[in-house]
């Protein structure tokens, strides 16, 4: 029911969005994390994400299940990029469908916070300075 991926290919957020909702859902919330031009005030040229991919997918699947057990959610999709990313590219996308918007917001926020805390992914920044 959930679509989970840790992938080198660019993330097509519009596609995730379109495939998620069923007739029971009244809300879809899509979060995209994007590579910024600065990090802690330093100018970024680009960055690279490294993942322990099979474990990262397993932990994401676990986090999605936890979200579903806490809030009334429909389908969810969580995708994290790996490899080299330019500024403006999406590093992570989290899409949550739900009958109700409150649940969609709560589940989405839970997933991104837990992802940052628990999913084995590492960012390597290339700075301009």
């Amino acid at each position: 029911m959930d679509y989970i991926a840790v992938q080198a290919a660019p993330i097509d957020a519009g596609m995730l969005l379109g495939q998620l909702a069923t007739a029971a859902d009244g809300a879809v919330l899509l979060f995209c994390g994007i590579v910024r031009e600065t990090n802690d005030g330093r100018p970024v040229a680009g960055l690279e994400y490294e993942a322990y991919a099979p474990m990262a997918e397993a932990v994401l699947r676990e986090i999605a299940s936890e979200a579903r057990s806490r809030w009334e959610t429909g389908a969810m999709a969580v995708v994290h990029r790996t490899g080299a990313l330019d500024i403006g590219e999406t590093s992570v996308a989290i899409a949550v469908a739900s009958p109700h918007r409150e649940a969609a917001y709560a589940a989405s926020r839970y997933i991104i916070e837990e992802l940052k805390r628990r999913v084995p992914v590492w960012k390597h920044e290339h700075y301009l300075d």
Binding site: Y49, E50, M55, A58, P120
Partner: protein, 81 residues
Amino acid sequence: MRVTALFFALYRDLAGAAELDVDLEPGADAADLVRSLRERGGQWLRLPPAPAIAVNEEYLPLSVRLNEGDVVALIPPLSGG
């Protein structure tokens, strides 16, 4: 017994490799694996004495007993998202 240690990010840099097979006494736990790596000296001493670890893709405490063939990932501070 033999286990496989996996290194990521800064731990891979200091290990100079993404993975390494390590021989341990039967009954060793994950803390023994870390200790045996640090005893190699040099760069290995930059490995923290109590890093986060995952055994066979599951986070576990350092006190977990290891078995022949286990894959033990040493997990540096995360920065995904």
